[in-house]
């Protein structure tokens, strides 16, 4: 009994980390930059397709594809930021919403055109398959790896955004554009880099997630709800908040499905509604 409880906690935590990796980029673009970026999962999908293509068609090792997935999504978003998002930073939320939904449509159609509608096979190297046995408990290797990856991303991001000059500039530019400009900060440049960072993280998250959740063109829509749930529950602009929210949601979802499977489909939404009623600005939200 205790064994299964530990197992459920572990699975829930790993699932939470998966959600975290998918959504942490959004807490940068939506949370920090206040841009309603519904195309977040399009960038994640791009990362996923990059990884699949490199692994399946070109035979690259899995780990080598991850930085490429990050860079590809970052580059794509940098181009889009320049062309489409930048003029809309000050537009209404609704316009941003419409624009990014348009991008989702285009990306889904593009993916279907290039890769077909078929489910992409994701074959991991053997050392990431299987499980580590610990007494009577089994810890799947890939989930351990996901947890590790999420922790690394969290530490690096928090360090980069809160303890470096770049991070200080980002925060200044996001808080008050005019003042930041006055201080000689290249606000446009900072925004472009920040946006690329958020989307690159999405690409990385996508590349890491497809092993568990699969990949086809509807990816860009399917996981949108989950990432927005994580970011809103965590509190906008809070990396730590997203981490905690993803953990809570992952564990409660997993525990619910294990112990009360009849409620399986309801749980993640119930938890979200409950948490938001308790803290409307999210667990770590300031606004």
């Amino acid at each position: 009994m205790l064994g299964s409880f530990v197992g459920v906690l572990f699975d829930g935590f790993a699932y939470g980390m998966l959600l975290f990796l998918l959504s942490v980029g959004l807490s940068v673009t939506l949370g920090m930059m206040n841009f309603v970026n519904l195309a977040h999962c399009s960038f994640a999908m791009l990362g996923g397709y990059v990884t699949v293509t490199l692994m399946d068609r070109l035979g690259w090792p899995f780990f080598a594809t991850l930085p490429v997935a990050f860079l590809a999504a970052a580059a794509a978003s940098a181009a889009l930021e320049r062309a489409l998002f930048r003029p809309l930073y000050r537009a209404s939320d609704l316009d941003q919403c419409l624009l990014t939904i348009g991008i989702v449509f285009v990306s889904v159609a593009g993916a279907a055109y290039v890769y077909g509608t078929v489910q992409q096979p994701v074959q991991l190297p053997d050392y990431l398959r299987g499980a580590v046995t610990f007494g009577s408990l089994r810890f799947p290797v890939y989930r351990l790896f996901l947890i590790g990856a999420a922790l690394v991303v969290t530490v690096v991001l928090v360090a980069a955004l809160e303890h470096t000059r770049f991070g200080a500039r980002v925060r200044a530019a996001v808080d008050n554009q005019r003042m930041a400009r006055g201080l000689g900060i290249d606000v446009d440049g900072v925004f472009a880099v920040t946006f690329a960072l958020g989307s690159g993280l999405a690409g990385l998250g996508g590349a890491l997630a497809i092993e568990i959740v699969g990949l086809d063109p509807s990816f860009a829509f399917t996981y949108l709800i989950y990432v927005i749930i994580v970011v809103s529950v965590g509190g906008l602009a809070s990396i730590g908040g997203s981490f905690v929210a993803a953990t809570l949601l992952g564990i409660s979802d997993m525990a619910g499905k294990y112990y009360v499977p009849q409620l399986g489909a309801f749980l993640i939404y119930l938890v979200m509604v409950g948490l938001l009623m308790w803290r409307p600005t999210g667990l770590f939200g300031r606004r």
Binding site: G7, T117, G130, A131, R138, P140, V213, S218, P261, Q262
Partner: protein, 407 residues
């Protein structure tokens, strides 16, 4: 309609002239279709070409194209014209509207396609009202064909596969089973069918669970099943993303198909799912009515032609459903000598029997539903490739649901 309204709304003084131009333009766009010199038979295909179920639709469409390429587009002196309509997913209101429009505007003679049950059910009303032949090429809920006397099905029904499988499982020596299905209509049908077949044959169901339809991670459910330690597990999930996810969860949890028998509907070991699962898929036993690995001359030719036409991709159940559906339409038209009245076509289709890539199949004259061989397959490694290898079969299976209700 709407094209004519938009220009009217421009708040600047609309001149009569612009209005007239707009109307003329609109009439040109939507006006009477050009008259055909040649007599045609029009087939309206209603499928979810976009959205979550786009892949089944694409696979079916590819087979339809292949059939027409192989057999020409003229039957009984009439040219076959196909009109494709997208429902965008589960949308019975859209499917019904498209069926209506196909009939009143495009004047189609036959409705076909139908990957999804709710859409097929909704269009069934239209088929009944307009007295048009409707060929269901995939949707597998048992009751569908009762919706219209002009409906025939060339895919399979869920109970046809699962109930048969349940009976087979007990006979193969399994005494206890735990069932896991997706929590929606087809899943419930699969659960019910399998449990009925298994229990009627004397087996015991030790537990069951239903997973949410949108479920990215199956590990909790699989863990739960493992903790019950049943002799066998029966699994049904819709095709697409989920089979691979379930398969990976099974492997991660250390459920070994050699110790705990893993049974499933054929979706579980589709091509892409097996590829993603790798060796973890070895030993999974599934039930289905078609696999591209089926050994027959006809099938080898079909698979080869399909591969060539679709960049090496293999046909699947959707493809064979579409392929046989076209075969049915062609043969029925030949029988009626090109007459397209629903009564004539459905009469021609009743009792029809032919050799399909999946084996011998026929249309039950009473229920208009498919009669076919159900195959039991196991995933094995053949020449380094993971394949569904047929090792048992039950021939001439009718839909047991309708067999019960009509009896």
């Amino acid at each position: 309609m709407a094209r004519a309204m938009t220009p009217e709304e421009v708040p600047v003084r609309t001149s009569m002239r612009t209005t007239r131009i707009a109307l003329a333009l609109a009439a040109a766009l939507f006006g009477v279709a050009p008259a055909h010199a040649e007599p045609t038979v029009k087939i309206g295909l209603i499928m979810p070409y976009s959205g979550q179920f786009a892949d089944p639709a694409a696979q079916m469409d590819n087979a339809i194209k292949l059939y027409m390429k192989q057999n020409g587009d003229t039957v009984a002196g009439k040219k076959i014209e196909v009109i494709r309509k997208d429902t965008g997913g589960v949308a019975p209101d859209v499917a019904k509207r498209l069926a209506q429009e196909l009939i009143v505007r495009d004047k189609v003679d036959i409705l076909a396609g139908f990957v999804l049950t709710p859409n097929a059910l909704a269009a069934g009303d239209v088929s009944a009202e307009a007295k048009k032949l409707m060929v269901v090429m995939n949707a597998a809920t048992a009751i569908i064909t009762t919706k219209s006397p002009y409906m025939v099905r060339t895919s399979a029904t869920v109970p046809q596969l699962t109930e048969t499988f349940g009976t087979w499982a007990r006979k193969s020596g399994i005494k206890q089973v735990y069932t896991m299905v997706s929590d929606y209509g087809p899943g419930h049908d699969a659960e019910q069918g399998f449990q009925r077949g298994f229990k009627d044959a004397g087996g015991e169901v030790v537990g069951s669970v239903r997973f949410p339809v949108a479920n990215p991670d199956f590990s909790a459910f699989v863990q739960r099943a493992k903790d019950m330690n049943p002799e066998a597990i029966f699994i049904f999930v819709p095709g697409g993303v989920q089979p691979a996810a379930v398969g990976k969860a099974l492997a991660e949890r250390g459920i070994d198909a050699k110790k705990t028998k893993v049974l499933g509907m054929g979706e579980l070991t589709e091509d892409e799912a097996r590829k993603s699962m790798g060796d973890a898929s070895l030993g999974i036993v599934t039930v289905y009515h078609y696999d591209h690995n089926h050994d027959s001359v006809l099938n080898r030719g079909f698979v080869k032609a399909f591969n060539e036409a679709n960049a090496g991709r293999n046909p699947n159940i959707y493809s064979v459903g579409g392929y046989d559906g076209m075969r049915l339409i062609y043969d029925a038209l030949k029988k009626t000598g090109g007459k397209t009245e629903g009564d004539a076509l459905v009469a021609a289709a009743k009792g029809m029997k032919w050799e399909s890539p999946r084996g011998p199949i026929g249309i039950d004259p009473e229920t208009r539903d498919i009669v076919q061989t159900v195959y039991i397959r196991r995933v094995e490694k053949v020449g380094g490739q993971l394949l569904n290898v047929e090792f048992d079969r039950i021939e001439n299976v009718k839909d047991p649901f309708k067999a019960r209700t009509t009896r």
